[in-house]
């Protein structure tokens, strides 16, 4: 476990930073959608058109990039699985269980 402490700390740091960044981006109120929502018969189509054609912000692209980083983080699980014979079940479970609990929590909250 001690041998892999550095990887674990790095992993936690990257996840923490990316999650915070994503949280800030998601929590920011949207200013590009008019306050009326999707209601209103006559103005419905032009409004949908304007949202679809809205300029893409750097924050949107940054969010996309974050998800790609998350996918790259999944790669780290591959090396933990490969080291299973050496590190044992407890170490592999210490990484897989929090992810499983997190996915379960996200499913329960309906955010996925």
């Amino acid at each position: 476990m001690v041998d892999h402490l550095g990887v674990l700390i790095l992993l936690l740091a990257v996840i923490a930073v990316t999650t915070l960044w994503l949280g800030v981006l998601v929590a920011r109120p949207r200013t590009d959608v008019p306050a009326g929502g999707a209601g209103g018969g006559e103005s419905k189509e032009p409004q949908a058109e304007s949202v679809a054609r809205a300029p893409v912000s750097l924050a949107f692209l940054g969010t996309l990039l974050l998800f790609v980083i998350w996918q790259a983080l999944a790669l780290l699980l591959v090396f933990w699985a490969l080291a299973f014979a050496h590190v044992g079940f407890a170490v592999v479970a210490s990484l897989l269980l929090p992810v499983l609990v997190g996915v379960g929590y996200a499913l329960r909250r309906g955010v996925l």
């Binding site: 790609v68 998350w70 790669l75 996925l112």
Partner: protein, 304 residues
């Protein structure tokens, strides 16, 4: 809007050839046969021997999709940028499930070397059921059937193969692939799709169906039999041809399964596809990985 200057059109034009090149590169690490001895030298149909071949092949599969995202985002057309975003969402959702579906098999095989995985499956597994001994080929699918299903579905979704062609109608709305791309680009993308399908079939065969190994007949037994009857050179060549044919047949069967899935299911819409990846395949792969680790630990404890 993010402006990429002259880089944008360059990325759009180069993306089809990058997409097809990435999949071609992945085939470099796919072993089509085992290794055979011809006197002092050995021969195998494997362009590049890479110890982390599985990692490379799946990364190239992802890269082939990512260059399309890059092209869409840098196209300068907001509608196409939105398509790129949706394509990225599909890639990430299915990519997570794809990588996690590999974990149980990595826990079992403890290697990323594709030939090594097949070598571990090239044996016979004896099971005792109520006093009766049954011999089964030691293929990966027998150790972990759910992983095979999750891997196949996630890989098809990741590659945007039918029925997961969610981005196709969006491309049609934005002018269509043929209208947007020159003929060579469109042909390259079609070729990339076909190659992705073949690559997925090859990976499924190698991971779950024993690759080139004949069921109940390990390579060592077959090669020894042929060499003793036909001599060293001819026996090894015949063994190579038999095992190459076996692998090609397995790949053809998995390709057929993909075609059947594509024809049996209607095109999956964007939200149901994301739901499938995030809410079904991802948790299933995680639970499968943990249960595999638990079973392996229990087996290690009992067999020690």
């Amino acid at each position: 809007m993010v402006s990429l200057g002259r880089t944008g059109p360059l990325l759009v034009r180069a993306s089809p050839i990058w997409a097809v090149s990435a999949v071609f590169l992945a085939f470099a690490v796919i072993p089509w046969t085992g290794e055979y001895l011809f006197g002092d030298s050995s021969l195998s149909v494997l362009p590049a021997r890479l110890d982390w071949g599985l990692l490379f092949a799946v990364m190239m599969l992802s890269l082939s999709g990512l260059v399309r995202v890059l092209a869409d985002v840098s196209s300068g057309d907001p509608a196409v940028v939105v398509t790129g975003g949706r394509r990225a969402a599909r890639l990430v959702a299915s990519g997570m499930a794809l990588w996690l579906a590999l974990l149980p098999m990595l826990l079992i095989f403890q290697t990323l070397w594709l030939s090594g995985m097949v070598a571990q499956q090239d044996s016979v597994l004896w099971l005792k059921v109520s006093g009766l001994s049954i011999a089964l080929p030691a293929w990966g699918i027998l150790f972990n059937p759910p992983a095979a299903l999750v891997f196949l579905l996630a890989a098809m979704a990741h590659s945007g193969l039918s029925p997961f062609t969610v981005n196709a109608p969006e491309e049609e709305l934005a002018g269509g692939r043929i209208a947007r791309e020159p003929a060579t680009g469109s042909a390259s993308l079609a070729l990339a799709d076909g190659l992705k399908s073949l690559l997925i079939a090859a990976l499924v065969s190698l991971l779950f169906f024993g690759g080139w190994s004949l069921p109940w007949l390990p390579q060592s037994v077959l090669e020894a039999f042929l060499v003793s009857h036909l001599g060293s050179g001819l026996g090894s060549v015949l063994c190579l041809m038999v095992q190459f044919t076996v692998f090609a047949l397995k790949v053809a069967i998995v390709l057929r399964v993909q075609r059947v899935l594509a024809r049996a299911l209607s095109r999956v819409r964007f939200e149901p596809m994301l739901n499938l990846c995030w809410k079904l395949l991802l948790p299933a792969a995680l639970i499968d990985s943990l249960s595999t680790a638990l079973i392996l630990r229990w087996l290690a404890g009992n067999l020690a």
